[in-house]
């Protein structure tokens, strides 16, 4: 059951991720990205991270991606036109990315043997309570710091995008 769920959502996530990258229209990419995020939320649930799963949907799918969609719609961005410059990028990028993936996969497979497996319910420490408790004790400082970060984001967005009424 777990394996099936994992495979379904992992494959869905990968398919969506590839779609994000290959679609020429930004809105199609955006929808695919929402798909990735949703399936990741399910995977988080499998890993016992229920709070993170909810946060994933609320913050990522519900807020960040809405902003993206909003901007795409606002700019009425059309499909991307091909430009010739990316040849160099391809020549350098493809091998290095493949190498990165290869190295990562190799290490992961070697360092995490099959015995260390997950099953649903194997970890129940990811409740809102546990996360919240850690957030306000151990991670108090980063938590407070993120509030500054949000303030900066608000101020920044206003500074950049505010239109004077004159």
């Amino acid at each position: 059951m777990d394996v099936i769920l994992f495979l379904v959502f992992a494959l869905f996530a990968v398919a969506c991720a590839i779609n994000v990258v290959v679609q020429t229209h930004p809105i199609a990419s955006a929808i695919s990205l929402i798909g990735v995020m949703a399936s990741l939320a399910v995977l988080y649930l499998l890993l016992g991270a229920e709070f993170i799963a909810a946060a994933q949907v609320i913050v990522y799918a519900g807020a960040i991606m809405v902003l993206f969609v909003f901007v795409i719609m606002l700019l009425n961005a059309g499909a991307e036109s091909k430009s010739g410059r990316s040849l160099v990028a391809q020549a350098l990028g493809v091998p290095s990315l493949v190498a990165l993936l290869g190295i990562l996969a190799f290490f992961v497979q070697r360092l995490f043997p099959r015995e260390s497996a997950t099953h649903f319910g194997g970890f129940t420490g990811g409740t809102a309570k546990a996360v919240g408790k850690a957030l306000f004790t151990t991670y108090l400082l980063p938590f407070e710091a993120t509030s500054i970060l949000i303030l900066i984001a608000i101020v920044g967005a206003i500074v950049l995008a505010y239109k004077e009424m004159d």
């Binding site: 290490f107 151990t138 108090l140 900066i152 920044g156």
Partner: protein, 489 residues
């Protein structure tokens, strides 16, 4: 209220500088309606007060050395050095921004607030002992820098610069984070000291050295972007050229210094015992940064862009000292960054002074005859340029000297020789500016130039004095750096 929710007073004292800066930043925006119609420069003055207070707080925090928030913040000499450095950078930036902003009709509380926030982020970076704090502080610094870069939103150059800075910066962030994830995965912790313990095999579940090496490489990619080290330097020229000049001055010093502080902190703390095999990477990057930066700078006609490339090269010099992987190298980095901060801010401040409304005059030709028209400005600029070249009795010289000394101590003979040859190449493009200033007739830009504003003059004087001071009595700074460069006691 449960006791474990409340940070102790010691904890609070140790993050006092950041608290002062953020509170004052917020206060600035709250007071905006009150101050806006009053005397000009009110924001600038308040920022200066905030920064001075933060400097005081830094010293006070240093008097209460130690770890705070369970090791998330480490206040030691190293942290204090960089905190003080970024705050001083902030003071100089504020001093040189006031006139600039008024000339562009763009003085708002938000600018100063963002600057203060950014400095708070950098100061926190310097003091962080935990990767998540590093990350968040880095983002605080970065995101406010993105906004500051795009601050002149009616200027397409500023927009573009912000866009490029933002995209590549976020990309780098992702790499940095992945590195953090791998560290967390291989050691089960993100506390730097604990990572160190795990890496030395004292603890930790799967601390495979190669895996850690991979993590180090990813972190290096992330930080490499932030310090504009090759091959991750591509954003720097456009960003530095496009950003408002005082912001450029800030970007090329404050965030860079903080990023190097983090770099040192992470690599000298967490990865040092195992080695991690990251030196060849840094070696290559150092050489590439110096070479690319210097040779690209040779061809620039825009002074801001030229200084941008030169700042890539300077990042390369610092990386040379990092490659040395020693306490001496660390103190050399610290000294160099201090010297670099002063000379670079000074240089950019002069560029900003000359560029005029709308930043029209940035070309090297525009500097023609500055020596006749404003000998004082030109003389100060000369000090900065000579220091950037690395002429003795300036801070830049001692910076380079210590760096290459450290490199030679670690037997990096070839890197040293190539680095020094690079610095000779660099002399050429700095000299071009000197040539323009002194050996040519006044250009239109120079004819239109306005007198030095008091704030700017103060900034230039401070920078020049500091540059010379570091060049004649480097010990004051170096001794402190030497004492605090041993990160793990």
């Amino acid at each position: 209220m449960p006791a474990d929710l409340m940070p102790s007073s010691g904890d609070l004292i140790r993050i006092l500088p950041e608290m002062v800066l953020t509170v004052m930043g917020t206060l600035l925006m709250v007071l905006d309606p009150l101050l806006h119609k009053r005397s000009s420069n009110a924001f600038g003055h308040l920022s200066l007060v905030a920064l001075a207070a933060a400097l005081g707080a830094t010293v006070y925090a240093y008097a209460n050395e130690g770890a705070a928030f369970g090791g998330m913040i480490v206040v030691d000499g190293f942290a204090t050095f960089f905190r003080a450095l970024v705050i001083v950078v902030g003071i100089l930036t504020v001093l040189s921004s006031c006139r600039f902003l008024r000339r562009q009709d763009a003085e708002t509380s938000a600018y100063h607030a963002l600057l203060l926030f950014s400095i708070a982020g950098q100061s926190m970076m310097a003091a962080s002992g935990n990767l998540i704090v590093v990350f968040i502080a880095l983002e605080i610094s970065s995101i406010s820098s993105y906004v500051l870069t795009g601050y002149l939103r009616d200027d397409p150059r500023s927009n573009e610069a912000a866009l490029k800075y933002f995209l590549l910066g976020s990309f780098a962030t992702a790499f940095f984070l992945y590195g953090v994830a791998l560290i967390y995965g291989s050691t089960g912790t993100i506390d730097l000291l604990a990572v160190r313990a795990a890496a030395t095999g004292q603890a930790g579940p799967i601390a495979a050295p190669l895996f850690l090496g991979l993590a180090a490489a990813l972190l290096f990619v992330g930080l490499g972007f932030k310090v504009s080290a090759a091959p991750f330097q591509i954003w720097a020229p456009d960003v530095y050229q496009g950003a408002p000049t005082p912001v450029t001055a800030f970007l090329s010093t404050g965030p860079k210094a903080a990023a190097f502080a983090v770099f040192l902190r992470i690599f000298m703390t967490a990865f040092e015992p195992g080695g991690g095999g990251w030196e060849p990477l840094v070696w290559f990057s150092a050489l590439a940064s110096m070479t690319i930066g210097n040779f690209a700078a040779l061809r620039q006609s825009n002074v801001k862009r030229m200084l941008a490339y030169s700042s890539i090269a300077h990042a390369g010099y610092v990386l040379v000292a990092l490659t040395a992987r020693s306490a001496v190298g660390a103190s050399a980095v610290m000294f160099y960054l201090a010297a670099y901060a002063f000379m670079n801010i000074g240089a950019f401040a002069v560029v900003g002074h000359l560029s005029g409304k709308g930043e029209r005059y940035q070309d090297i030709e525009d500097f023609g005859g500055l020596g006749q028209k404003q000998p004082l400005t030109a003389a100060l600029f000369t000090v900065f340029l000579l220091s950037l070249i690395g002429v003795p009795l300036t801070g830049g010289f001692f910076g380079k000297f210590y760096i290459f000394k450290a490199a030679l101590e670690s037997h990096l003979v070839w890197l040293t020789v190539l680095g020094l040859l690079n610095s000779a190449v660099a002399a050429y493009y700095y000299l071009r500016v000197l040539v323009m200033m002194y050996f040519r007739e006044p250009s239109q830009a120079v004819n239109e130039i306005e007198p030095l504003a008091p704030g700017l003059r103060t900034a230039l004087f401070i920078s020049a004095a500091a540059t010379l001071f570091l060049g004649i009595f480097p010990n004051w700074v170096l001794d402190f750096a030497g004492q605090s460069s041993t990160l793990v006691k």
